[in-house]
Assembly symmetry: C2
Homo-oligomer: 209 residues x 2
């Protein structure tokens, strides 16, 4: 279930509040976000919101933690074919055809991530997500190597490169001329997929174009 | 010449002003930056500064354009050995041992880059830098292929991946737990260098670890 779908049918007040934050972020981005704008998206008593959070940043850090829990619980897991598992995880993080809402949200996430340059609480959230996805990639790669499907490689090293490339792709998507983003994403996805396959399974293709 | 060195001996008032912006950014980051703090770093008449710029963002966009001019004019060029040229460009963008000042400045650049998610003038600057470095990498790769030193590859595709990986590395450096950044950067640099070499020159190493 995507975040947008989750927030369409919130199960409790916390999910309603997180949904209001999500919609306000998609609509206004971080720079223009205010507690008032979040509360405008919140169907219940505004005092509830002001009661729980002293500041926009306090609410957003709680929101990030909620989003990461959701991302972790919906990350594609346990596939018998390690190569398919890798491809599925890449598609999860860098969707081929993101919806407008996903693009808006990814832009807001980049703005939130930049807060981590000066705010340790934001930094803790993004350290957690970086480690989580790096470990996911590394464990799929290690599993494939143990099964003899993948070549033995330094799984942690390769996982670090994949996560940095995905992060760089998101940064480019959110901060450069939108008219040229999609061709760049296609090149990047093709090269990254090709790289991972060459590195892990497909020695014969080396040297051929 | 590094930016820090350039600003130590400014050649004119504009460079003095850009130096003041640089020092204020390194010290306070984007979030805490004010025109007043920039003017505190500026040795000449404050009215000059207020006269030329209406807002912090107007000054910062001019600053970004100045920094990009400088980066472009100091980017390592024209090496006879394409592989060395690639490695030198990577080291230029992802220095193995960045100084504290460089790290502070790179953090501020990430904060400025996030402004591009909502501000088209910031976006234009980062589009320009992304295109510039992608073209640099692609032209070195193409040159190497023409000389028969590199395998024929899709140079633009590989260049897009390299630039995204470098951007993702800077993002990680600036926004995750500093205690674990250096090991991650080492892994990333090793994997990226290895990848570029395997992809372009070193078929024999495939399949061996």
């Amino acid at each position: 279930m995507s975040l947008g779908e989750l927030f369409d049918e919130p199960a409790d007040t916390r999910q309603e509040l997180m949904g209001a934050t999500y919609r306000a972020l998609c609509e206004h981005g971080y720079a223009e976000l205010t507690i008032q704008r979040i509360s405008d998206q919140f169907p219940k008593s505004k005092s509830l919101l002001y009661h729980h959070y002293d500041s926009k940043d306090e609410l957003l850090i709680d929101f990030l933690s909620f989003v990461l829990d959701h991302l972790e619980s919906t990350t594609p897991q346990g596939d018998d074919d390690p190569l398919e598992a890798l491809q599925r995880l890449l598609e999860y993080l860098l969707p081929t055809e993101p919806s407008t809402e996903q693009q808006q949200f990814r832009r807001a996430i980049i703005e939130l991530r930049a807060q981590a340059a000066s705010n340790p609480e934001y930094q803790a959230q993004f350290t957690r997500s970086t480690n989580y996805f790096e470990n996911r990639f590394a464990s799929i790669i290690e599993h494939g190597s143990q099964e003899g499907v993948f070549r033995p490689v330094d799984a942690e090293r390769l996982a670090t490169l994949i996560v940095a490339t995905v992060d760089g792709a998101m940064l480019r998507e959110a901060t450069t001329d939108p008219d040229h983003v999609q061709p760049a994403m296609s090149r990047l996805r093709a090269e990254l997929t090709d790289y991972v396959e060459r590195r892990l399974v497909d020695a014969e293709r080396e040297g051929t174009e």
